[in-house]
């Protein structure tokens, strides 16, 4: 088991600013997107549940820049950050959350089913752990097709207690598939501490028992996540088979945007707020010589972009109701024969 913590360039002040300034921008864009989505929900613009990833941005932002557009990504109910990081259009995403025309899924999916196949983002999923076999199968298809791409599958700490975790990881090993499993561990399965529901040492131990090399990563340190992801993805591309990364992080909000999360002490949340992955990257960049002005410009641009997007999304019209009958199936198409 590999450990990826602070033993990287960031700590010593010589981090590549050319690489990490765009990553900072990405993290701010994710943060702003979600803060504005929560605000929009309060205003009644988002009707379904949303699961924010505020505080967890380093996972998305550390992994996805190591992927090309044609590499594939599968996510969970908490998927906005991953989807943005994979390159999806935030306006189409926000429209999806608002249930509007031009949403990534035409308003049919909402937050929990956000997807953008055009950038290799094969979907969030409303069923915990269900993305694991699907990701495995996507990797299986890539291998059958002799394609050079890889698949990343992100799931929560709660998902490792579902059967498909075992079945998918075992399968990926047996067929030596190019898939990186990422356990984005925020400590909670909804309102329950996952530790109390988890036998043994957790994700890496389970992955290793199934024959997958696995790494423990500080999931609030985007440099550590980036380094671990780079190593893992290079191994995947070299045909070395599947791997797992266990990223330790924390969600600052409740499980959903409306969950007050009273099941955890304020002090604990505060402690994690102080480990904010964005602030940590900013500190690293500052050490490496990036000016405060540039840092705040990065932040501002992200917020400006997302504010404009949110406004534009809310001004978009509803989808045509007849769309409910489209994209079901061709044979026995309900548009022709609904009842």
């Amino acid at each position: 088991m590999t450990q990826h913590t602070a033993e990287h360039a960031g700590a010593s002040g010589n981090l590549e600013t050319g690489r990490f300034l765009p990553i900072l921008s990405l993290m701010w864009r994710i943060r702003a997107f979600e803060e504005l989505a929560i605000e929009a929900q309060r205003e009644g613009l988002v009707l379904g549940a949303i699961h924010p990833s505020i505080g967890q941005e380093a996972v998305a932002a550390g992994i996805c820049p190591n992927l090309s557009k044609t590499d594939l990504l599968l996510s969970t109910h908490r998927g906005h950050g991953h989807t943005l990081a994979k390159g999806a259009d935030p306006l189409a995403m926000m429209r999806e959350l608002f249930g509007r025309e031009g949403g990534t899924c035409g308003g049919k999916g909402g937050s929990m089913h956000i997807a953008d196949f055009g950038v290799g983002m094969l979907g969030a999923n409303g069923v915990v752990g269900a993305n694991i076999p699907i990701a495995t199968g996507a990797a299986h298809a890539l291998k059958l097709r002799r394609a050079g791409e890889v698949v990343v599958c992100i799931f929560g700490d709660g998902a490792i207690n579902r059967g498909p975790f075992l079945e998918g990881l075992n399968w990926a090993r047996v067929f030596d598939l190019p898939v990186l499993f990422v356990c984005e561990d925020n400590g909670f399965s909804a309102t329950t501490r996952t530790r109390s529901m988890t036998g043994g040492a957790g994700a890496t131990a389970r992955a290793e028992s199934l024959g997958l090399p696995a790494a423990e990563v500080d999931g609030n340190d985007v440099l550590a996540v980036d380094a671990a992801a780079r190593t893992a993805i290079a191994a995947l591309r070299a045909g070395e088979g599947p791997r797992l990364m266990h990223c330790h992080t924390y969600r600052i909000t409740g499980h959903t945007a409306v969950d007050p999360a009273s099941y955890r002490p304020e002090a604990e949340v505060d402690q994690w707020r102080r480990r904010c992955p964005i602030a940590r990257l900013e500190a690293g960049l500052r050490l490496a010589g990036v000016s405060d002005e540039e840092l705040s410009r990065t932040r501002q641009e992200a917020w400006d972009e997302m504010r404009a997007i949110s406004a534009e999304a809310s001004a978009t019209s509803w989808p045509d109701a007849r769309g409910a009958f489209a994209d079901v199936q061709d044979m026995g198409n309900p548009a022709e024969r609904a009842f």
Partner: protein, 328 residues
């Protein structure tokens, strides 16, 4: 009588049965925090974390463990959170729970209740909105219950917990907040008995779960037009109350089945077919079903609404049936 919500009625049912019978316990995710909708609020404080057990996100094992625990002298109440997630535990329910008593020649029983909330509930989309009651009605060994009112949620859930065979108990998510009169003392509602929720002579509506309410609204509206609609709330889908339905349609000569689920191969087909078989010569109009089109439930409201049966659609359907028909 006092006003109670549908959610609170379900909570009270579990509480009362746990007080009455120490073999009863509940298991599922987040129950210690009251369950995802608050249906278990305060119960862990009252009964401890052994009898209100938080579980891992392991639907197959939640269901399978309940089967084993039911065979071994306890009476588990399984919480599946959304009926959609119970699709991760179908082998355990259908191949194991439902068949064990039979397959093992009656050596033991599997007294368990599986709570599977169904239905559409504000932009929840395709994986959190399904109503699959028809599936379980098709499976020998299962009882299927779908309460529509707070009083029934209390009385049916209590009876279900006392049942000696597995019960799939489908509460409707959109009814959680519904308030209604609930009796004060012990309140039990028998399984397999429908309620005639409103009497009428011109047409019988057979419905269940949340659709009871738009049906009653439609019946009310139609009475102003002089159309008398009898509304039967089945309450239990297996065994369904054939006698009550046949008696009513025998009287009115017209049957409309109203369901939220997809109409194609839905449970309404069973009712409509049974009535057509039994009462063909008494029917004054063809039997009719109203249900969702065969589409997944979408997220955006205008799309989601396409899957919804409204009281307007019901009144239209009823009017179309009571207006004299020409022989085709």
């Amino acid at each position: 009588m006092s006003m109670t919500s549908y959610l609170e009625a379900g909570r009270r049912a579990v509480m009362e049965e746990m007080q009455r019978d120490e073999r009863v316990w509940a298991l599922g995710e987040d129950l210690g925090r009251g369950g995802v909708f608050g249906q278990y609020k305060g119960l862990q404080e009252m009964f401890g974390d052994e009898r209100i057990a938080d579980t891992p996100i392991s639907e197959a094992c939640i269901m399978g463990a309940a089967v084993g625990a039911a065979m071994t002298g306890t009476r588990p109440v399984v919480e599946m959170r959304f009926s959609d997630f119970a699709l991760c535990a179908v082998d355990e329910l259908v191949n194991q729970a439902a068949k064990a008593r039979f397959m093992f020649g009656g050596q033991m029983r599997v007294p368990m209740v599986v709570r599977e909330p169904i239905g559409m509930w504000r932009s929840s989309a395709a994986q959190h909105s399904q109503s699959l009651e028809a599936w379980y009605a098709h499976i020998p060994g299962l009882v299927v219950v779908a309460p529509a009112t707070p009083a029934d949620n209390l009385g049916l859930l209590k009876t279900a917990i006392r049942n000696e065979d597995p019960v799939v108990y489908m509460e409707h998510k959109n009814l959680w907040a519904l308030e209604g009169e609930v009796p004060e003392g012990e309140h039990l509602v028998p399984l397999g008995k429908a309620e005639v929720a409103r009497e009428g002579v011109d047409l019988t509506i057979v419905t269940w779960s949340a659709m009871r309410h738009p049906c009653l609204k439609a019946a009310e509206d139609l009475s102003a037009e002089g159309i008398g609609v009898e509304v039967i709330d089945l309450r239990t889908l297996w065994p369904w109350d054939r006698e009550a339905v046949l008696a009513s349609v025998g009287k009115t000569g017209r049957l409309l089945v109203v369901q939220e689920a997809v109409s194609v191969a839905g449970f309404g087909a069973e009712i409509a077919a049974s009535v057509a078989e039994a009462l063909h010569y008494r029917l004054r109009a063809p039997v009719r079903r109203l249900g969702a089109p065969r589409i997944p439930v979408a997220y955006a409201p205008p799309l989601e609404d396409q899957a919804r049966v409204t009281d307007k659609a019901i009144t239209d359907a009823v009017r179309g049936m009571v207006v004299p028909q020409t022989v085709a």
